[in-house]
């Protein structure tokens, strides 16, 4: 979780940012799916987050500057340890991550030279904002 946030914040190029954004959306998909319906309770917000994260991930994939995945690199998919065992802890962590994601993608959209990169970043930022709002985060 911290690694992903750091990767987003420290990405020095559009390619690095898109790679980190893809990882972040995949992570959100995985976590929201795992924690939406647990013994602890049912979290409606995470159910909606799941759909929004998948749409955001699809947006990032359409960016021409997204690099091919490095061989052997594991995605933060299923099995990735959550930030905290509780649903509320996960929701808070995902809210923070989506806030950073939305801000970085919105910023990248303003500076990307390729039209399709810009569109991908804008759409990705829009879905990241939606996730952030669903999880009760303040305006990123």
């Amino acid at each position: 979780m911290e690694r992903m946030t750091a990767a987003l914040e420290s990405a020095g190029s559009l390619a690095a940012l898109l790679d980190a954004a893809w990882e972040a959306f995949e992570f959100i998909i995985s976590e929201s799916g795992d924690y939406a319906d647990t013994d602890e309770g049912f979290c409606t917000a995470l159910v909606y987050v799941l759909a929004a994260a998948a749409d955001g991930r699809d947006a990032i994939i359409t960016a021409p500057s997204l690099p091919a995945r490095r061989p052997g690199k594991r995605s933060a998919g299923p099995g990735h340890p959550g930030p905290d065992g509780s649903v509320l802890g996960v929701a808070a962590a995902l809210a923070a991550l989506s806030g950073v994601l939305a801000a970085r993608l919105a910023s990248a959209a303003g500076s990307a030279s390729d039209r399709r990169d810009r569109a991908a970043c804008l759409i990705g930022a829009q879905y990241a904002r939606e996730i952030h709002a669903l999880l009760g985060g303040a305006e990123p």
Binding site: I29, E40, A45, L50, A51, R69, A133, L134
Partner: protein, 618 residues
């Protein structure tokens, strides 16, 4: 129950107008009255004939020689249509002379307008497509179903009998009329009307129309959707229930339309599927909470059947919980694939999200609940949800409509996923594949195992939703919730249109000879002996069923005239009221529940002929 106009409103109004017309008959003495009555009766007959034509539409184009193959129901529809045509022909094409003055003519006009409006309401569920009727809503299948067709024919024949009795009673037979020719034509038209009214008697004697079938007919709404509603946080439970029902109806219709999208339609997108899956998961969760709360409430009641209903509610709550899990699994599977069209949510998806919001407002204590609230948000207390036992049917109805809408959404998603997969429109991100780094392109066609498992989870969501609907429908029947007509509609739609032939058409000899035609042409299903006109027609070698029916009709009309004449001799001062009393169509009003309106009952002034005092054989 949602404030939408339903067919029953117009059928009941037509019946009411004819009942009131009966009280005004016997007063017609002037030539103007006769003219007005002729014009108004023709309008009414034309309105009735419109329904009969719709009922006979699917088999009315058969050649005459095949009409004998029709079963009793189809034959009755064709006979009613033909008799009504005959009645209209008797009256010619009278000139319209403005608004009628006589009370009787005004009532006949009002009945005609009600019937025309009711038929227009039915027609809103169909579109004309190069001469074919195309369904525009899920109700179209219900309207053309066997139970509704039978019930509608019974209504039309009953109204025909009623109109015949009213007009015949108003036209004096035993004294000169200012317009003798018009009087003769009116009487003849009434005879044809009476014949139309009797056309379904053999079919109804074999298989009477049930009250449930009639309730369903009366509950058919127009296809115009109720207005979309947005919560403002001030709604109380009854308003929330009404909004849930309204939104469910919108969702059901939009999901029905979405399920029929062609495989290449740009309206099919993974974004819609995902949004629907999310809303389906959330709404199922809310149903689970509400059913559990109602079960707890039932446990607090001490009435005899409360325990059984409480147990049924608990089982339904468990079904809703399983449905929630199935929807969530579908959402997870849908997050792993994509389509060529993305980021475009369909109207059905948007409305599904609305439904989740409305049901959430009903399920949770907070009046401003939104999905972003966390898992620890308190649910509404059972005693606040249904303070009185009388509140339970309304809540069950809201849940019933919701469950139906969820099932429609599940079917829609399943059908769209299947269609898109067949059209090669389902993809996966290349990066998600094990060898994604080596794959050129952003998305690759979904591997077969992906599509198979995706379809499997969608199918499971449909099954789970269907199970929940069944459970809630059972409770709706138990507590007599106004939504129980939904279950009847579903059964009717599944049953399909009425069978047309009394035996398989394939069994008909390809080159049926005259003997076979003669055998097929038997026009009187009741097996009554042929009258003189029919016998003469047969002796002349007539085999056309349509001609033989007309001959039978003439025989029956003649018998009716003789019976009436004999009756007149016994009681010369026969009044219109007594005529109406003898008519099955003018029996005292009976209360029939009309669940679709949320009212306790709806006046319906007709009963099945088989349930009436036997009418003198004409």
């Amino acid at each position: 129950m949602t404030g939408r106009p339903v067919l029953g409103d117009f059928l009941a109004a037509a019946n009411r107008h004819l009942e009131r017309a009966a009280t005004q008959s016997g007063t017609s003495a002037s030539g103007r009255d006769a003219e007005e009555m002729t014009v108004s009766l023709r309008r009414l007959i034309t309105a009735l004939a419109g329904y009969a034509s719709d009922l006979a539409r699917s088999f009315g184009v058969l050649p005459d020689r095949d009409l004998g193959l029709l079963n009793s129901h189809a034959r009755a529809a064709v006979q009613a249509r033909d008799a009504l045509s005959g009645a209209a022909a008797c009256l010619g094409s009278p000139e319209v002379t403005g608004q009628p003055v006589s009370g009787l003519a005004r009532r006949l006009d009002a009945a005609a307008v009600s019937l025309i409006t009711g038929r227009d309401l039915l027609q809103t569920h169909f579109a004309s497509d190069q001469g074919w009727r195309r369904a525009r809503s899920g109700w179209a299948l219900v309207i053309t179903s066997q139970p509704v067709s039978r019930a509608l024919l019974a209504e039309i024949t009953s109204l025909s009998r009623q109109a015949a009795a009213v007009v015949a009673g108003a036209v004096p037979e035993d004294r000169p009329w200012p317009a003798a020719e018009q009087g003769r034509r009116l009487h003849l038209a009434c005879q044809w009307l009476a014949l139309a009214g009797a056309s379904d008697q053999p079919a109804c004697q074999q298989d009477p129309v049930s009250g449930t079938e009639r309730d369903l007919l009366y509950a058919i709404p127009g296809s115009a959707l109720p207005r979309r509603r947005v919560p403002d946080g001030s709604e109380l439970v009854p308003e929330l229930c009404a909004a849930v029902i309204t939104t469910s109806e919108r969702v059901s219709h939009l999901a029905w339309a979405a399920a029929g999208e062609p495989p290449g339609s740009p309206a099919i997108s993974v974004t819609s599927w995902r949004r629907i899956a999310s809303a389906g998961t959330a709404t199922s969760h809310h149903c689970n909470l509400l059913l559990a709360a109602l079960a707890a409430r039932a446990g607090q009641h001490r009435r005899g059947d409360a325990r059984a209903i409480g147990e049924a509610l608990e089982r339904a709550a468990a079904d809703a919980r399983r449905s929630r899990a199935s929807w969530l699994r579908a959402g997870l599977a849908l997050s792993q694939v994509t389509t060529d069209v993305r980021w475009r949510a369909s109207p059905a998806a948007a409305e599904a999200t609305d439904l989740a919001l409305w049901t959430g407002r009903l399920a949770y204590a907070s009046p401003g609940w939104v999905p972003s609230r966390g898992p620890d948000h308190p649910a509404r207390l059972p005693e606040n949800l249904a303070p009185a036992r009388a509140d339970v049917p309304g809540l069950v109805a809201a849940l019933h409509y919701t469950a139906e809408a969820l099932e429609r959404l599940a079917v829609s998603n399943q059908q769209q996923v299947r269609a898109a997969a067949r059209a090669g429109r389902v993809f996966v991100p290349a990066r998600s594949l094990p060898d994604g780094s080596a794959t050129l392109g952003q998305f690759v066609p979904a591997p077969a195992d992906h599509t198979v498992s995706l379809l499997a989870v969608c199918r499971r969501a449909t099954k789970a939703s269907t199970r929940t609907v069944s459970a809630v429908a059972g409770i709706a029947a138990d507590v007599r919730a106004p939504s129980r007509v939904l279950a009847t509609a579903k059964v009717a739609a599944c049953a399909g249109p009425p069978p047309v032939f009394s035996r398989p058409a394939a069994a008909v000899p390809a080159a049926a000879g005259p003997a076979a035609e003669q055998d097929q042409a038997a026009p009187d299903p009741a097996g009554a002996p042929a009258g003189p006109v029919e016998a003469r027609a047969r002796a002349l070698g007539v085999t056309s069923p349509r001609l033989l029916w007309r001959a039978t009709g003439v025989d029956r009309l003649a018998q009716q005239v003789i019976a009436d004449a004999a009756g007149s001799r016994r009681s010369p001062a026969r009044s219109a009221a007594s005529t109406a009393r003898r008519s099955p169509g003018a029996t005292p009003a009976r209360r029939v529940s009309a669940p679709g309106r949320g009212r306790a009952s709806m006046t319906q002034g007709r009963a099945h002929p088989a349930q009436q005092e036997p009418e003198a054989e004409p």
